[in-house]
Symmetry: C2
Subunit: 239 residues, 2 copies
Amino acid sequence: MTPSGEARRIHGDDLQIMARVPLFAGLTPEALADIAGQSQVSRVPRGATLFRQGDAAKVLHVLLEGQVALMAGVEGGGEQTMLEILDSGESFIAAALLTGKPYLMSAMALAPCRLMEIPRDALLTRLRANPDLALAMLASLSRHFRLLIQEVKDLKLKSASQRLALYLMGLTQRRRGSVTLRLPHNKGLIAARVGVRPETLSRAFAHLKGQGVGVDGQMVTIADLARLGRYCHEGREIV
Amino acid sequence: MTPSGEARRIHGDDLQIMARVPLFAGLTPEALADIAGQSQVSRVPRGATLFRQGDAAKVLHVLLEGQVALMAGVEGGGEQTMLEILDSGESFIAAALLTGKPYLMSAMALAPCRLMEIPRDALLTRLRANPDLALAMLASLSRHFRLLIQEVKDLKLKSASQRLALYLMGLTQRRRGSVTLRLPHNKGLIAARVGVRPETLSRAFAHLKGQGVGVDGQMVTIADLARLGRYCHEGREIV
DNA sequence: TACTTCGATTGACGGAAGTCAAAGTAAAGT
DNA sequence: ACTTTACTTTGACTTCCGTCAATCGAAGTA
């Protein structure tokens, strides 16, 4: 803890968080402080929109605290899908920033959030100067890329119930035995995440009863994780 | 043309191609030659598999000549989707290479190909040493990332006919008036690309007749590109 | 307690796309 | 030319999921 006033102390905590963000992994404390010095920290309430699909990307957001959903939809209509949920300590995806093109998604705060905003120019300058940062960003982008590839594959090749099962398995580290876990969102959001309507989610949960999945409100019990994992990777025919 | 033997002349041509690959955009001729010097050039016949989903990524492929499909499927079964088609002068996606994890897709040569293979270590070394290369790779990855985002959105929000229309519009630069174009693949491959079965593709083509799209073998005529574009962006209800 | 509201579930129905099977067509080999 | 093969289309049927509507329950409010 630095011998300083309130504003700096908060900044010190933020550096702690930054250091754990994969995007900044391996950076020296000086490099972290340098970037932080160029950035602003802002707070937004639950439900706020950080940016909208079509906006120009001017800053890279880093989620210090809170939770954000990345949504996309057809321009006119209300039809929307959720593409990703970001949690504390994750950076937003820099693709729009790096291509200089408008966002393809909108970002909505699912909880009160504290965000670091790194200006585009500052980031690009430091990417050029600091190979470690560039490599870390390549790694981060690659990781998200692979998540997205997996998402496309799942959308094309798996049923709604299988995608739900995959989502549930993603909520725990364990791969065997049984678990009880709490759903991190209401079911409407989970439905959007899985890529189905809320009604279909209900039916998918009912369907998964046959695979040892029980639901009671927010609580979900999985009797046999290994079995559910097998179910996820079955071809479509064997339901 | 350099005053040299056969092997070197081919290499000189390859440098020309490399210079046009987006991934290497802006690199100095020296940097290009440096990378080329570390790499091998290989040829594969049509139908060959370059790597399989699950393989470890040891080299970055750059497609000097030919065409490659990136496919993914469920492990056991034969169900497959195509995620992307790469053409001459495009680099493969470095995500697997950079994360050090196995490929999520398989690569199949759709035509006889000539490929440059850049070893992983050589690439990583140069990424660290050359910020321009790192930035170019970030840009390339970002571009592919955004294509993929768009793909997820289309899969979730558009009908099969709309996705086919989008695919057709992607085959031409023009956005208005009428065009006649030749399909670059057989319809089975196009079906996989659009994300439907061949039977459904036939029906989607039949459906698009109502939007001024005519098909005769490999030749497709679009009477009014602007109209087809509007059709692509309609909400689902207005079909 | 009663009332409203929102989220979640259930049922009935329809439509889009997959599946299976067959026929038609084009391309390639002999 | 004829056969063989692969590709494409068409038809009948099924399945999954979305839509619409009604119901139910929980949380908050008057």
